[in-house]
């Protein structure tokens, strides 16, 4: 039973990996990677790593792949010609490199002379790899790596937002194109992004006799503080 499951999952994983590399459309590459990850989770289960298998399915095949699909849809998954532009030579070199790497890895792992490598592994408890064991280890022996990993995730999230944010607000055409019912219903200066950023279509300042005299200077100073010195400081930032 274990052998059958291993060969089914192993062949599925390798086929998924080949699909990622060989398929022309990036969207299908992502789908091939999802099937590869599911097969790999089955292999993890065969190795008694239940928690890692569950995390693989939920985090990888669920969350990360959705991120990939979103980006592929955003970029537009255009077909790209397979293979390098330099021609066949680089493809040949990479195939030779891959073969050599495979041989080297097999020598490094299978030829390591470890005694248990030709057995099914050490005798373990039935609870080996369960979430309880992993969780206890993460909060006792491996507390420091766990905390560092959480900080790394925080930094990566902030970095992704900084990298992918839109600089300089909406363009005039985009701002014209957006029109919602709230534009009519909502009174001026009740806190929209257009008022805060003061882009090309910033709302005119409310007249002093309009609502109150008090909100106007407060909003104006807040706006100025938000922008900094706008005309001088923004062009260098744009170039950078």
């Amino acid at each position: 039973m274990g052998e059958v499951l291993f060969f089914v999952a192993g062949i599925g994983a390798v086929a998924g990996a080949i699909g990622v590399v060989a398929v022309r459309n990036p969207f299908y590459s992502v789908l091939a990677l999802v099937s590869h990850l599911l097969c790999l989770a089955a292999l993890f289960l065969l190795l008694r790593a239940e928690f890692v298998a569950a995390a693989q399915v939920v985090v990888y095949a669920g969350a990360v792949m959705v991120l990939y699909v979103f980006v592929v849809a955003y970029i537009g998954g255009q077909d790209e010609p397979l293979g390098p532009r330099a021609g066949q030579s680089l493809k040949l070199v990479s195939a030779v490199f891959g073969g050599l790497l495979f041989i080297e890895l097999c020598v490094a792992t299978l030829g390591s002379g470890l005694k248990l490598i030709d057995t099914g592994g050490a005798v373990v408890q039935p609870s080996f790899g369960s979430p309880a064991e992993i969780g206890a280890l993460l909060l006792t022996k491996f507390l420091l790596p766990f905390e560092i990993a959480s900080f790394l995730l925080l930094i990566a999230a902030v970095g992704a937002v900084v990298l992918a944010r839109r600089r300089g607000g909406l363009t005039a055409a985009e701002e014209q194109a957006q029109f919602s019912a709230m534009d009519v219903l909502r009174p001026s200066y009740t806190g929209t992004m257009a008022e805060a950023v003061g882009g090309p279509h910033a709302l005119p300042k409310p007249a002093a006799s309009g609502i109150d005299a008090a909100p106007e200077p407060a909003a104006a100073t807040a706006e100025r503080a938000e922008q900094g010195p706008p005309p001088t400081a923004s062009p260098p930032e744009e170039e950078r």
Binding site: A17, V20, V52, Y74, G98, L105, G120
Partner: protein
């Protein structure tokens, strides 16, 4: 199953991923191939954890997954920024990192 079989599958997947990084031109697919290589390393780690009857390799695999998720977020952010600036989505064309 013997642990050696799992290691062989891991080596094969790593090789396929490395060949993909070398040959593909779209940075999205290059990131996907990096995922393949990380997953192959995860499989080897878990196989060795099973071999020793020790949980350390599994913890290592979890941390590798965290690092891979970070790499994906930042890498996809870079790709989105490239797309915003109308740069070509092609690793051969991108020859400088100056923003």
């Amino acid at each position: 199953m013997d642990i050696g079989w799992f290691l062989a599958v891991s080596a094969l997947i790593f090789t396929i991923g490395a060949a993909g990084v070398l040959t593909r031109r779209s940075p999205l697919v290059v990131l996907l191939c990096l995922e393949l290589m990380l997953n192959a390393a995860n499989l080897a780690l878990i196989a060795f954890a099973r071999m020793h009857g020790n949980h350390d390799g599994q913890i290592f695999a979890v941390i590798v997954m965290v690092v891979a998720a970070c790499e994906v977020t930042v890498g996809l952010g870079v790709i989105v920024a490239m797309h915003r600036r109308r740069l070509p989505i092609d690793v051969d064309e991108m020859q400088e990192l100056q923003g």
